[in-house]
């Protein structure tokens, strides 16, 4: 007797056979114990897989993910994203990069001006625009950090509030992940604890090819330039992790920062790293 192949049995199980072939298989199964047993093996294997996979599942963060997609798609891309290329753009890449750099510089200048002047209408305008674009309050308006010499780490001579671009997010379930991908070699990374509820990441100097991505509780910055990155972590977050090219650099435990990678300067409130050292 010619038996039914395992591929045909699987297709039968999955409802993928045309009607005529399905009828033939059913007739064969009625008279062939071996093929009927093989069908049961496949059926049991499929049930085992479904049950096993159920253990892995966690609820998808649909609402916050939609906000992230809207936010990311409203920010002009500053150069190619890490690992992905944009084939859909109709504008020449060089023209787009120039326009985007200009837009980021204007945004950075406006954010710096708003932070410098208490009660500035520019800040109110920025917040209102951001809320309308993002449509979700899980992402805050980017603000330039306060230049308080008692808290801020020693910045490079060339860094200034006017030349910073950044992004802020709220923790997810109390946790924050900051992911830096391919930062410039020997560039500084400043990490500090701040009061407030949002985590922020800023790139110093000309944004250049740096790109920002967000996901619930996570900021990813790719290709930050040689003037470095500044990371502000909220003191109230339950936990936080900073990774650079897949390596853990720092964690926030309870109320303090802890360096995992060698740091140039380290305290419970502030860490300074140098990439590649």
């Amino acid at each position: 007797m010619t038996h039914v192949s395992e591929g045909t049995l699987q297709a039968f199980l999955d409802g993928e056979l045309p009607d005529r072939e399905r009828a033939e298989v059913m007739r064969h199964l009625a008279g062939c114990a071996d093929c009927a047993a093989e069908l049961e093996v496949l059926r049991a294997a499929a049930c085992d897989l479904s049950a096993a996979l159920g253990w892995l599942d966690t609820p998808a963060p649909t609402a916050t993910a939609l906000a992230s997609v809207r936010q990311v798609s409203s920010i002009p891309r500053i150069g190619p994203r890490f690992g992905f290329s944009d084939r859909a753009a109709g504008v020449a890449a060089s023209t787009r990069r120039a326009l985007v750099r200009a837009a980021m510089l204007v945004l950075g200048l406006a954010a710096a001006a708003s932070a410098a002047i208490p009660g500035s209408p520019i800040r109110d305008w920025l917040m209102d625009t951001w809320q309308r674009v993002a449509g979700d309050d899980t992402v805050a308006v980017p603000t330039a950090p306060a230049m308080d010499p008692a808290v801020a780490p020693a910045a490079p001579a060339t860094a200034s509030a006017e030349r910073m671009a950044g992004i802020s997010i709220l923790p997810r379930d109390g946790e924050i992940r900051i992911v830096l991908e391919s930062p410039a070699h020997s560039s500084p990374i400043y990490v500090r604890l701040i009061d407030g509820s949002t985590a922020s990441v800023f790139t110093n100097g000309d944004p250049g090819a740096a790109s920002f991505r967000t996901a619930p509780g996570r900021i990813t910055v790719a290709n930050a330039g040689p003037e470095g990155v500044r990371v502000d972590l909220p003191r109230g977050a339950a936990a936080a992790l900073l990774t650079v090219d897949g390596h853990a650099f720092a964690v926030k435990d309870a109320d303090s920062l802890r360096a995992i990678a060698p740091a140039e300067r380290a305290s419970a409130e502030e860490l300074v790293f140098r990439v590649g050292t």
């Binding site: 699987q10 294997a45 096993a52 993910a65 859909a88 991505r213 996901a215």
Partner: protein, 165 residues
């Protein structure tokens, strides 16, 4: 295309597929986000969006696997358990089961994993064939073998865990 409605309809399934495929919630978040951002610029009929998204996402996973090097993953320290959380032995059992399933999936070739997980999401054979890059006529055979491999590997993983206890 009603983007928001499509997003709410398709995102949970895509995220679940990616999380099961990669074992990494962050990567699942990232790739799902990238796929949906790309969908914004695609003039697709709604009924083509789902297979398109899964194909793009599967390719992005493949690209990422090719580019990534072996890394140590350090997880953020979990907050201490609250008095109202599940008892420790339940947490331990769940953790063991998750590790067993994850270890079993890791033993399968990437293509087998993709096919099995797309089947779990209800895709047709021609859609799976297109996403993974095989002939539609071979999908049944590939699935049957992958299912048997998973069942055998999962059983021996669980037997191994029981022997260690």
């Amino acid at each position: 295309m009603d983007y928001d409605r499509l997003f709410h309809l398709l995102y949970p399934s895509l995220h679940r597929y990616l999380h099961r495929l990669t074992g990494d919630a962050d990567v699942a978040d990232d790739i799902a986000q990238e796929a949906f951002v790309r969908l914004l610029s695609q003039p697709l009929p709604e009924d083509e969006a789902r297979p398109w998204l899964f194909t793009v996402a599967t390719n992005l996973v493949r690209d990422r696997v090719r580019k990534s090097t072996r890394r140590d993953r350090l997880l953020v320290k979990a907050p201490p358990p609250t008095p109202f959380g599940p008892p420790p032995d339940e947490v331990a059992e769940r953790s063991q089961r998750i590790d067993a399933v994850r270890a079993t999936l890791e033993k399968l070739p990437e293509r087998d994993r993709q096919l099995l997980l797309m089947r779990e999401e209800g895709f047709k054979y021609d859609e799976m064939a297109s996403a993974v890059g095989v002939a539609p006529s071979s999908v049944g055979t590939l699935l049957a073998r992958a299912l048997k491999r998973f069942a055998e590997a999962h059983k021996s993983q669980e037997v191994g865990d029981d022997a260690r206890e």
